[in-house]
Subunit: 659 residues, 2 copies
């Protein structure tokens, strides 16, 4: 390269060079620049840096650098319990904000908890338990300031569906509950392990589009299931897909619906939806939809109590155990064949719970511009669920709706979770008997109005506009959840997302480049309509790493571009192509199969009397071209820094004419 | 963009523009060029073109374009039976080459076939059968001119291992054989279906590195298994892993070895290896190693016959059925629980056979510079195995060693396969009884000397030099095969190859760019040590599509580059960074998660009072930036054609100083 010439073109080029070099650049440097070969890295160092980027991308040890031992210990403690750090700057002003937010989310969570535990086929008190211990643990270990912890609709539904596939929740209530705690335990272990092993990036494999579809589908499934309570149907299907549910609903239309129940449900659902509408219209009235559920519960309970509507077929909660969480350490299965089942369910539920919590954490962190350490967050969420599983809680995570209320109510720190937790404690100790006459229809209404917010059709529309493939993943997840089951929906979404990545790596885009008039810039002729091809050359850009999965395709595609071009030239009777320039800018990596493909391309081109020229190979690629000796095969002087440089050497006539 | 200014910087910039524009370019065009937005494609058209690139990348219908109906029919017939095309130009000269090549590969294949059928736990005649029918079918339908069809070592071993996991080949010989035909049938179906459905690209997912490791491991496994015949051991393990085999070998050292067998084996193995050495030294003597096996068989058979060494414990072939392939249509399981098993085994064996055949076909095609249509080739190979399964053949494919001999012997067309087939026919009809006294040790020696060529340590070394990750895949496959089993080795290789792709998409490289002195080119400062950063700006390049799996990482990594840079600047007390320029050249695609990440990045940068600037987004990316309204959010005038243009606008001081 540079000024060393090898293959015959030498003398002619040299003339052109001396002619054009002074024109092309202001300085008197040689105009053809060498492709940089970086200093060879030590193998161990290279490996270490790859490992660092993969597992420690966020550089978690940065604050520990250059600190004395005692300071490191304190920093370490603060890393595990962030409350030690932010707690020192805690003030009365912040406390005021946290108390208001905490009270607001408590009023929202109590009725929701009772409803959600029903989705998980558990008695109502387990929902309340799960809003007491986990938020406390999180407040000490979590780093999000806005997240509201507790049971959520989608995870409750998922857990309930998976658990009842194993054990009947009515006939074998105790085993069912024990398996639920086992699954919760393993969900916590999974979450903490992912964080501890720094594998947090695995949850990124559930794409935004998939989550939108999945959440929407789950919301519809949950809403449909609420028709049982809402319509007062006794014999309701246990399946969650839309076909079975609609069959149950329609089948029981004549004799199974209870009009009193429907009336109560409809009235309060209207009230709830109207309060939501008010909250949306005027952001300052965010507290209206937040306390509407509690008001509905109080009013409807009082109404049923005085009218004794429960004697007319209106189903009521009947009984909520009084008192705080009993220990459930001995209820977790640590042996027997339920361990494996609990483990499997726990892994799935734990991952979904994690995805939801991390998404919430990141969203609010970016709104207030603070950092969330994903892996640390996972350890916090995992620990909270492990502790939860031992204190009669089921899988808790961050709730979308309650976190938004928390944020709008002006929460400052995780103290709002502690406040909420205290309110739940008081509820458990004092007022659970009052819920006896609460009609199930109200709980159903509350759940329906809560999950409606999960159907994000605007996001789906945006996805459609941006990326059709993402939209397919989104719809796959949605219809999979609605028509088959939650797991299938998930599986479809993940498979589609993965196959998109693989498709992109298998069939990368290629483009023919042309010169943009008046510049030395070469761009896709399909994108820049004024870009013109340079006679005698064909410039092709490959838009992907060249790997085993696409090496053969890339080779054949480039040859096909050449054949197409030559056919066109034949018709137009223009000079034949002498140089095939491959712009390697987007080729971020190449493997042995890729090198082989380039060798074969080179050989095929030689047979056609076309010279292969490479432009702008990146650091990794140029290293490999040298290591494999391909750089020598094609000729070092055929590898250029830019397409412009390559053209300058290969098509000197062109340059002399135009520049 | 271009001359429209929006955000305050306007007037100052305008001045600089008028100052520098005449300097920067020769022509009097505006110096900042618009990023091209291509004419919006029809959704259906876009979909059709994606489908075309995925499934019809090789444009198979090109010759049919603009042809009359009758001509199309002939072209179609020629597409299915290429012999109709090349047969018309067949000449006596070509026939001469084909006859010599055919005779040479026949002499090599006959002893190999007998040995390989033993690897598949089948009687010797099945190997010969498989060298008779499949090559004939292939000659009519295949498009490779150099491939030699027949049973091969690796597929025989794989088939034998998989089959004996289901049925004991000694106790239930008939069921075993029937399952073998069933598997062969489904292997053929799989191959033909992949070709017909144009899913041929699936075999590309087995990377070159994985194949090298897999073949090497299989070769060692096969060679170790031959120790049974070579040492004359009676009680030999059925497992194929190295530990079990060595245990058998060492355990029988005292009483199980037969010295006469070892002597015969060692003498002829030396002879075979020496002939290989000669063939390697002098390419003209390629026929020496090609006929050495047959000579060994003849000599050793004669020797055993006259010395009656078989009575002293030297094991012999004993019996090979005379006559050509009987029909086996009724032996294939089309119902019952063996169908599924046969299907599974067939899919695996068929894929491996396909990989080998396509690799051979492509290698020789690129050496003689003709085209192989992968999908058509798969249909040919599949049909050949389907027909084979009905005529008592097991899975046949292209053999590496025999194809090389075929090529060196000067084969011209697939007629050499027909010649070989005829020789095998004569062998089956006339001389199989003569093989009665052939010692098994000779067959073992022939197999050992044949598979040694599959251990390609030079390729492994090259892989190590080029790509360490590929080397891990290679070694994973190798040790998986050697220490566990053929299937596990394959699974390891495929998993490692895939995780490499995913890792690259999850943790893409990013680089900080600097200006190469005397140019307007910006490159990685780690690769180009003389590249200098532009004060007041930070230029970061993202080396990958921005997808859900990496969007969060990319965002945080860019922010980390910024933090690092700002810390350094603080120490050096240089002006703070005002513009973060993201070079999008290698960002070949972006999805909704990626857009979200960019939005979050933009928001974070706003909080830090740094302006986000994009350079050179590709066609797909710019479309999506517009569709998602992100282009408006960041400002259309903050998106530039090149980094140089971006710098020209963002750091005008710099340009005035230097240019």
């Amino acid at each position: 390269m540079g000024h060393s010439d090898k293959e015959g073109l030498g003398t002619k080029e040299m003339d052109i060079r001396s002619m054009s070099s002074s024109r092309h650049h202001m300085e008197n440097l040689p105009y053809v620049h060498k492709v940089g070969v970086s200093p060879r890295q030590n193998l161990l160092k290279e490996f270490a840096s790859t490992m660092k980027e993969t597992f420690f991308a966020d550089d978690p040890l940065r604050p520990f650098k250059d600190q004395p031992g005692s300071r490191r210990f304190i920093l370490g403690l603060q890393a595990v319990f962030p409350i030690l750090e932010w707690g020192r700057n805690y003030s009365l002003t912040k406390l005021k904000g946290d108390i208001i937010a905490g009270l607001t989310i408590a009023s929202l969570c109590i009725p929701q908890d009772i409803g959600y535990s029903n989705l998980a086929n558990l008695s109502p008190q387990y929902g309340l338990y799960s809003s007491f211990v986990p938020p406390l643990v999180y407040a000490f270990m979590g780093s999000s300031r806005d997240i509201a912890i507790g049971p959520v609709a989608v995870v409750s539904l998922l857990l309930g569906t998976l658990l009842q596939d194993e054990i009947d929740p009515v006939k074998h209530a105790e085993e069912y509950r024990r398996l639920a705690f086992t699954a919760t335990f393993f969900a916590g272990i999974t979450q903490a392990a992912l964080g501890f092993l720094r594998l947090g990036f695995l949850i990124d494999f559930l794409s935004h589009a998939a989550i939108v579809g999945f959440m929407g589908g789950a919301a519809i499934t949950i809403a449909l299931q609420q028709l049982k309570g809402f319509l007062g149907i006794q014999n309701f299907t246990k399946k969650a897909d839309i076909v079975s549910v609609m069959h149950s609903v329609v089948g029981s239309a004549h004799h199974g619906w209870n009009w009193q129940t429907v009336l109560i449900g409809a009235v309060f659902l209207s009230f709830l939806l109207f309060s939501k509408y008010i909250g949306k219209k005027n952001k300052k009235l965010f507290w209206v939809p937040a306390i509407a559920p509690l008001i509905s519960v109080v009013l409807s309970t009082f109404f049923v109590y005085i009218t004794r509507a429960d004697k007319k077929g209106v189903q009521i909660v009947r009984h909520i155990e009084k008192g705080i969480n009993p220990s459930s350490v001995h209820e977790i299965y640590f042996s027997g064949h339920y361990v494996l089942k609990g483990f499997k369910i726990g892994v799935v539920a734990g991952m979904i719970a994690l995805t939801e919590a991390i998404a919430i954490g990141r969203t609010f962190a970016s709104m207030k511009d603070y950092q969330i350490d994903g892996n640390k967050e996972m350890v916090a969420l995992g620990t909270m669920n492990i502790v939860g599983s031992m204190t009669s809680c089921y899988v808790a995570t961050g709730s979308f709706s309650r976190s938004a209320v928390n944020y709008m109510a002006g929460c400052q720190t995780a103290v709002s979770n502690i406040v909420m937790s205290c309110v739940v404690l008081l509820t458990l100790e004092l007022i659970t008997p009052l819920f006896k006459y609460t009609p199930n229809a109200i709980l159903s209404s509350i759940i329906i109005s809560a999950v409606i917010g999960l159907i994000d059709y605007e996001a789906a529309l945006l996805i459609w506009k941006i990326d059709k493939f993402d939209f397919i993943a989104c719809m796959g997840a949605f219809f999979g959840v609605v028509f088959v089951s939650v797991e299938i929906g998930l599986l479809i979404a993940v498979s589609i997302s993965f196959s998109k990545i693989l498709l992109q790596v298998t069939r990368p885009r290629t483009a023919v480049l042309g010169k943009i008039p008046g510049t030395t810039v070469y761009r896709n002729v399909a994108q820049y309509l004024d870009a013109t091809k340079v006679p005698g050359t064909l410039i092709v850009r490959v838009d992907s790493a060249i790997y085993f999965s696409n090496s053969n395709y890339v080779k054949e595609r480039i040859l096909r571009w050449l054949t197409d071009e030559e056919e066109q030239l034949k018709i137009k009777d223009i000079a034949r192509i002498q140089f095939l320039i491959v712009d390697m800018s987007p080729v971020i990596d190449i493997d042995t199969s890729g090198i082989h493909a380039l060798e074969e391309l080179h050989r095929s081109l030689q047979k056609r009397d076309v010279q292969l020229v490479l432009a702008n190979p990146g650091q990794v690629v140029i290293d490999k071209l040298h290591a494999s000796n391909f750089a020598n095969l094609v000729g070092e002087d055929k590898i250029f820094l830019t397409v412009a440089d390559a053209i300058l050497t290969c098509a000197p006539k062109m340059m002399v004419d135009e520049v």
